[in-house]
């Protein structure tokens, strides 16, 4: 209970819009890395839209598609893909890291009886799945 007359004047320091860069005088590297992690989604989205557009062009015939492919074969587009790849890799790294951490936590999802799997095995599992998936896709794409 607080008597209404008892509340006193307070001061709230506003959070900066660029808090992930610098807030109230301090830079926090982890906030910055967090924002980079969230930004990966923009590149994922852009890439997926581009992918959908390419499939759409496939329905428009070989010329349209070839022209599109040709335009991708340029410095800026290659640069875009390299940046997108770096972000996508960062997404994979952070996402799999967090799921590993989560499954390793006290009441993890990976439980055998009452025992939780050791974190290192879970980590091997998730990063292993990534490598396996990558190899399978590459193999299928190159050989089908």
């Amino acid at each position: 209970m607080m008597l209404d007359s008892e509340t006193t004047k307070t001061y709230t320091r506003p959070i900066s819009k660029a808090w992930w860069l610098r807030d109230r005088g301090h830079f926090n590297r982890r906030y910055f890395m967090f924002l980079l992690r969230e930004l990966t989604s923009v590149f994922v989205a852009l890439y997926v839209v581009l992918f959908i557009y390419e499939i759409f062009l496939l329905t428009k015939g070989p010329d349209a598609h070839a022209a599109f492919r040709e335009s991708l074969n340029s410095g800026p587009w290659i640069a875009f893909h390299i940046i997108a790849l770096l972000f996508a890799l960062y997404h994979s790294y952070t996402w799999l890291g967090l799921t590993t951490k989560m499954q390793a936590a006290g009441r993890g999802l990976v439980k055998i009886g009452t025992k939780t799997l050791p974190p290192i095995l879970i980590a091997l599992g998730s990063y292993g799945a990534w490598i396996v998936a990558t190899i399978i896709i590459a193999y299928l794409f190159l050989t089908l």
């Binding site: 209970m1 008597l3 007359s5 008892e6």
Partner: protein, 568 residues
């Protein structure tokens, strides 16, 4: 002026206070409970208790055994009817707390685990790793949130008890946030403000433990009982006084002097590290006199060695010990011994109450360390204090609620007047003058003289000096000046008010110690080394007067156990 009124008002929101609040609200439907606490309840010092909570839980144990251990531990100064009630109700209380979610450590079969503790003849200490007090307090606090009948006044500081027609009818309290003084009316007031360890320089006690509630009661004529009994915990970190729980010895840790010897074999051969705290603390002083101790910047110390327990046991049962030593002294107990020395830990004495927590003043109750129900006598056994908070918190809550049901509120207009007078008193005393004395200086001098005269070993001369010094400190206190004259969250003012409480409790303590010319439990007089049942098998009662306190005596209640020599 609108004055809040409660059937039962708790002063203090720690283990005893919250248990009492819940008990009071369960005593009868419609009971309206207030809890005034100078800190948010989960900050209360119960939070720091580490080792455990005693109760008879196993087949190899029984109530008489727990009672006997407690009585012997108290050096026969406890009231045996109180002890019998205590051991009986302890069992239900710890189970109740289990039902409220306390995460007690468990055996494989799902029962709560018990561990060994100093002075206990069998394993009967329930624990939640080595954060027992923390878990108990949070379980109690979080459970208290579900009782709508409980209204909290967080960060309100009680400045006086209101008395009308000889009965307590409420309190005045400073809302620390706003700086306003308010009257809060109550039919029953329960003091649960904890001990007064902070009147000593080296203590495991938190900054908030200044004997506030004891002094509040003392000032309205309520006697303080057995104040001279102050427990030193044998294993505190030098300097900070941070507690290395007794459980570290219960789990098998060794105390080793500078010669590499487990020196306790000379003093408590039968119990070694599991001897009672008063004897272990005195053993340290003997070793110090023999120069068998290490020397450091914060005085001498011995080693608490846990290395042979191994990392697994330490992490499982004593994780907090490892956390504290790593963070505060940079020592990892898995690889190095921990420096420890005796530090003030607990006040056996406190507000004089009967077996139900009722004081001689109608409407006033007390429980927990602030009270002296006479469970602990001259020396408390480790792990009885948390249980005491539960058992006598619950008792006091129930009895206070029953009293409230049969009583009317006092006149609110006169209470409002008293609150205005109190506001004036405080403004005049602390804001109106240009006193030159600093709070910190008087406080430091008080602590110094308490250590010198009323420490582990006491003598007539040293105690007389301490009594004189306290008298001059009280004079200096009248000339106090504080830096902060603002209203909002003025902790300078709070500290000054606390210092006033400390001086009162210290005065009662030193005079009680001076007149007890025997050695019993924690009270060790170098000039009277023997226990003297003929003259001193009785409680001391300190009453405040205009001059030195008046000390009276009260017989000890014996039921089934005759006093005998206390050896381990």
């Amino acid at each position: 002026m609108n004055i809040p009124m409660h059937d039962v008002l708790l002063v203090g929101g720690g283990g005893a206070g919250l248990r009492a609040a819940i008990a009071a609200s369960e005593t009868y439907r419609g009971a309206d409970i207030g809890v005034v606490s100078k800190v948010y309840p989960m900050r209360s010092h119960t939070v720091s208790a580490e080792g455990g909570t005693a109760a008879v839980m196993r087949e190899d144990d029984n109530l008489d055994l727990h009672a006997y251990d407690t009585i012997k531990g108290s050096d026969f100064l406890c009231d045996q009817d109180v002890v019998e009630a205590f051991v009986k109700e302890a069992v239900d209380e710890v189970i109740q707390l289990e039902h409220w979610g306390c995460p007690w450590s468990r055996d494989e079969d799902g029962r709560v685990s018990v561990r060994a503790f100093g002075g206990m003849s069998v394993k009967r200490t329930l624990y939640a790793a080595d954060k027992t007090g923390f878990h108990m307090l949070h379980a109690l606090f979080q459970t208290s949130l579900k009782y709508d009948a409980i209204t909290r006044y967080d960060e309100w500081f009680v400045t006086s008890l209101l008395v009308e027609d000889g009965r307590v009818c409420g309190v005045t309290a400073l809302n620390i946030r706003s700086g306003n003084i308010h009257a809060i009316g109550a039919k029953s007031v329960i003091i649960c403000t904890g001990g007064a360890g902070k009147i000593f320089p080296f203590t495991t006690n938190a900054a908030i433990k200044n004997g506030d509630g004891m002094a509040l009661a003392y000032r309205i004529g309520c006697p303080l009982k057995d104040l001279e009994f102050v427990q030193y915990h044998p294993t505190g970190l030098p300097g900070t006084g941070i507690l290395m729980t007794e459980a570290s010895r219960g789990e098998g840790g060794h105390l080793v002097n500078s010669q590499g010897e487990r020196y306790l074999s000379e003093y408590v051969p039968g119990k070694m590290e599991l001897g009672p705290r008063d004897i272990l603390s005195r053993s340290f002083i003997h070793e110090e006199r023999k120069d068998n101790v290490f020397k450091g910047p914060d005085g001498s110390y011995v080693h608490l060695d846990l290395r042979h327990l191994g990392e697994k046991i330490i992490d499982e049962r004593l994780p907090f010990v490892r956390e504290l030593t790593r963070n505060y002294v940079g020592i990892d107990p898995v690889y190095e011994p921990i420096p420890v020395r005796p530090v003030v830990h607990y006040c056996m004495g406190g507000v004089h109450t009967d077996i139900n927590g009722a004081t001689p003043i109608p409407g006033l109750y007390a429980a927990g360390e602030a009270a002296c129900v006479s469970l602990n006598g001259a020396n408390r056994l480790g792990s009885n204090s948390l249980t005491e908070c539960l058992v006598f918190g619950a008792r006091a809550g129930q009895v206070a609620a029953q009293h409230a049901a049969d009583t009317d509120f006092a006149d609110s207009a006169s209470m409002a007047r008293m609150a205005q007078d109190e506001q004036k008193r405080i403004e005049t005393q602390f804001f109106g003058t240009n006193g030159k004395e600093r709070v910190a200086n008087i406080r430091d001098d008080l602590r110094k003289t308490m250590e010198e005269g009323a420490g582990i070993f006491r003598t007539e001369d040293a105690l007389k000096t301490t009594c004189d010094t306290i008298r001059t400190l009280k004079e200096r206190y009248k000339n106090i000046g504080i830096d902060d004259h603002s209203r909002v969250f003025n902790t300078d003012l709070v500290n000054a008010l606390e210092l006033g409480y400390m001086l009162d409790v210290a005065e009662g303590l030193a005079h009680s110690a001076l007149l007890r010319r025997e050695s019993r439990g924690s009270h060790a007089r170098s000039d009277y080394e023997e226990r003297d049942d003929e003259n001193f098998l009785k409680h001391s009662l300190a009453y405040q007067t205009d001059g030195d306190p008046r000390i009276e005596y009260l017989p000890v209640t014996l039921t089934r156990w005759e006093p005998e020599e206390r050896t381990y």
